[in-house]
């Protein structure tokens, strides 16, 4: 049967913090919303995340970070994706974690469509992905 509308999401944690509760809650919520979620675990380098996004041909990449290194690591994920021919039109990028407002502005300029802070509801995240997601092979 034809499954062209299936949303595939990569949920990844760049950097060294081991706090993956948030990422797992989001992964599970997106799953329960009928999406296919590829989860790659903690301590991922930007190269690893971009490579997984390429091989899995996902339409959506969600990054979770709590270490404070988001301004270092998030832009590098964008660069590594570009190095593999995956631009902002090919994949929907969003992030989550403890991220100050000024940084959010900067990250949006880089191509992050949304940043979800503490207290965000999984319903909002699901709705956001549904509204904005591509489905791979753009």
């Amino acid at each position: 049967m034809n499954d062209e509308g299936k949303i595939r999401v990569l949920v990844a944690k760049p950097g060294l913090d081991g706090h993956d509760r948030g990422a797992k809650v989001v992964a599970r919520a997106l799953r329960d919303a009928g999406m296919e979620v590829i989860y790659t675990g903690i301590r991922q380098t930007p190269e690893m995340i971009a490579e997984a996004a390429l091989q899995e041909d996902v339409g959506v990449v969600g990054l979770s970070i709590l270490s404070g290194a988001h301004m270092e690591l998030f832009p590098r994920v964008v660069t590594e994706l570009k190095n593999r021919g995956i631009g902002p039109d090919d994949v929907l990028l969003f992030g989550g974690g403890i991220i100050p407002g000024d940084d959010i502005v900067e990250l949006k300029k880089l191509g992050f469509k949304a940043i979800f802070g503490p207290g965000s509801s999984t319903e909002d995240i699901i709705e956001f992905v549904r509204q904005n997601a591509g489905v791979g092979t753009a």
Partner: protein, 318 residues
């Protein structure tokens, strides 16, 4: 567009490979054209199916086998299948976590697939994905599935060589006997062989096999430790032996026919189902029939025969 993508796959473009896999998995006309273009470039890879219960170490073993092949510079493709929820059709695909050591190796390509509850077509689609990796130039293609249901066993059974994993401390030999899953095995792996009970399990499996009908290929029982890599060279040797057995005995020709028949029949079933629904008044009428059967107004056999009647009538002039 598809011809272009197929050409890029054959040239070794990894992004094109990823996109081709999506198209094949999604079904539809683009996937059809792609496979048409790629099919004659397939049949070269050794497709290895690995199955076993959840937690038996399929991903870890796949990872260790991959490390073994990469040391010899053999390109490896992996398809890791995880179940979709039967309720929401969503899935969390986490097998990559066990294979992180290969992330930076361009000779390894890992793709996660969800079962998606396809009607009988799951094994067909997974096998097609393996063919795409084959056409891309992977010499070893590993298809890894949870051996929990008929579908998953079927996927593994479509491979050239099927490995069934068992682990100690998961029940007595009667468990293995009733599993039925033993019958698809070309190679039996006893994983987590460092745990107590591994030797007993290996002996029990060997005894069970010797009770079965004598076959030309004697299924080896190999003890391995996926986590440390101990025994992996032995497992790889058993896989290679099975492949040369297939080639030398002439069984390969039978296998290729079996695979071809399976593909054709499954695709045909899908087609016929769709056609039958379309010709009998569409999805709406199907739902209506389902309600009538559920309400005991008619029975499933009569309903299905009635719905399939359209297939036997000549197509109206277009």
């Amino acid at each position: 567009m598809s011809e272009d993508l197929a050409a890029r796959v054959l040239e070794g473009d990894r992004r094109a490979l990823a996109q081709a896999l999506t198209r094949v998995e999604n079904g539809g006309a683009e996937g059809d054209r792609l496979l048409k273009a790629l099919y004659r470039h397939t049949g070269r890879a050794h497709v290895i199916g690995i199955t076993g219960p959840a937690g038996s170490g399929k991903s870890t073993l796949t990872n260790a086998l991959t490390a073994f092949y990469r040391k010899q510079d053999i390109p490896v493709g992996i398809i890791a299948v995880d179940p979709s929820s039967p309720f929401t059709h969503g899935a969390v695909l986490g097998d990559r976590i066990r294979m992180l050591e290969h992330w930076s190796d361009p000779g390894v390509f890992i793709r996660s697939m969800a079962t998606r509850g396809a009607i009988g077509g799951l094994a067909a689609t997974t096998f097609e994905a393996a063919l795409v990796l084959d056409a891309f130039g992977k010499e070893i293609v590993i298809v890894e599935t949870v051996g929990a249901g008929q579908d998953e066993v079927e996927i593994a059974g479509l491979a050239d060589t099927t490995v069934v994993i068992n682990t100690p401390a998961t029940g007595d030999d009667i468990q293995a006997m009733k599993a039925g899953i033993l019958e698809v095995a070309d190679v039996l792996a006893v994983n987590k062989a460092d745990l107590p009970g591994a030797d007993t399990l290996a002996a029990q499996l060997a005894a069970l096999l010797s009770m079965g009908p004598a076959r030309e290929w004697k299924v080896p029982v190999v003890k391995v430790e996926g986590r440390t890599g101990k025994g992996i060279d032995e497992l790889a040797a058993a896989l290679a032996q099975h492949r040369s057995y297939l080639q030398q005995s002439g069984e390969m020709a039978n296998l290729r026919r079996r695979q071809a028949r399976h593909q054709i029949e499954n695709i045909l079933k899908d087609e016929l189902l769709r056609e039958a629904i379309a010709r009998s008044g569409g999805q709406e009428n199907l739902e209506d029939t389902v309600s009538r059967v559920a309400g005991r107004e008619t029975d499933p056999r009569s309903a299905a025969r009635e719905l399939s009647r359209g297939l036997r009538e000549p197509v109206a002039q277009r």
